[in-house]
Amino acid sequence: MIEVRNLTKMYGDKLAVNNISFKVEKGEILGFLGPNGAGKSTTMNMLTGYISSTAGEVLIDGTDILEDPKKAKANIGYLPEIPPLYVDMTVDAYLSFMYDLKKCKLPRKAHLKDVCNLCKIQDVRGRIIKNLSKGYRQRVGMAQALINNPPVLILDEPTVGLDPNQIIEIRSLIKKLGKRHTVILSSHILPEIQAVCDRIIIINKGEVAADGTADEIAKNITNEHKMTLRIEGPEHSAEDKRVIADAIRGISGVKYVRADMEREKGIYDYDVETDGKTDVRRAINKLCADKGWNILMLQLSDLTLEDIFLKITMGDGLDKAGSEKSGKSKSKPRIDLKTSEGGKISAVQEDDDEKEENDDTAVSDSSEENNGGEE
């Protein structure tokens, strides 16, 4: 339905979006995730034909947005970051205007009523947009995007400024729409993306940093599984801590053990990382049974989307796993931490990697610039 090939956008000599490619199938809900200024809005503006791309192409249902813009745009409903509302019009007049603008052929009254019902703005239809609250404005923007039932919906941060109830409503609305439309939505709110989207693309510094479902991304970014254990030793002392940690280290498949704080008196928590292939829980249980220790707690802590996001966007990785993988992982789905990390490391250590460092600064500059433009 939507195909993006090697999309690049330069603002002057600043790179805002760098060589992004992805595909969205019909009926899919794709989430765009990224920190502020990562290039989300720029990408969406290119997808909708508001701005042109420097290189690469966007195909909407097989039509190039720059070659046959009218045909391609007729397939898109777009809710920009700031809804494009004429604030001195009433909601009805505005929606009617958009209906005309989009050359909609559906029966006017019934269609506008449907759209208003869907976005829950029936009760403000006669009011002037200027007097509406942010949440209502957002929903009018949403309604505007839905006019003419476009097969593709592109929503840039649709839940910004809404209260928690409205956020839930909009989410369920988007889910509902996802059955009939292809939806791309951007957000920097992680639970939202996780709740709504079938697939996630994480964008960082203008590049696709990860692409896949949350689970796939988690699997790809790290193989390790983490768990937290609380084990009661016989003596309730620091000596216990050392002995227990050593014993767990001895189990095959365990990569890393760290004794954590004293959570209960004389009882410590242990963070255990495994290689991801072996399930060490039974071995640990057996070990404790043999030694007469008591397991008081065992908690698996797989990566949440939040961890992934931080890991990718913070660049320097929260633990060693990130930096180990950073150099080479260009496999699919791509997890690419190279640019940022390479830049940072080389900046500290030596000068021979100068080019990469420059690239990095260029990218981050442009993303700042881009962010400024968005506001």
Binding site: K73, A74, P84, Y86, V87, D88
Partner: protein
Amino acid sequence: MLAIYRREMGAFFTSGVAYVFLAVFWLVSGIFFYNGVVASGTTDTSSMFSSMFYIVLFLIPVLTMKLLSEEKKNRTDQGLLTAPVGLWEIVLGKYFAALTLYIIAESVVFIYAFILNYLGDVVWTPLLGNYVAMIFLGAAFIAVGLFISSLTENQMASAVVSLVVLFVIYLSEMLVSSFENGGKLKKAIHFVVSKLAFYSRYVEFTRGVFSLPSIVFFISAAFLFNFFTVKVLEKRRWS
């Protein structure tokens, strides 16, 4: 195009621009009508029409100042540019909305004509000729104003710059009037500027000459500036 035209007409009236424009236009043209025609005891409207040039000059920037600048400022241009409409449709929709309001304002001369009808015999031919000439003069000026509105996000800047540009267009022929008897270069400059002059072309009509080339000139100017406006919108997309 029709959707944009209708919205823009509505916006003129809800924002109050239309009322200000019409009130000032009618007030000042009424003064010209009284002084130039009624008080002088003549039914010759040409002096009124030649004074009308200044109303057009000063009021058109008010009409065009927010047409495109406000769209950009409020980000509503995102709605327009991502809708399945062409840039020409957007520009022309706005252009014709402004032109319509202008023609409504200008048509007040027919009321004056009826007043004159009671006082004496109206000479219809020059009146109609001047009326048409004024429409085309406005058509050209509106295109200039719309073009300047597309360059900025600030209404006031748009209005002031439009006013200055229209004023320079008006003054240009007077600035070079001394060049007529100068050297070759000066003569060439004088030739070019006087060919591009708006004011003397317009005044020609008030002297009773219906000059088709001048009409063509005004239409070409209108087309050219609308074309520039389209190019500005296009360029913004590509930058």
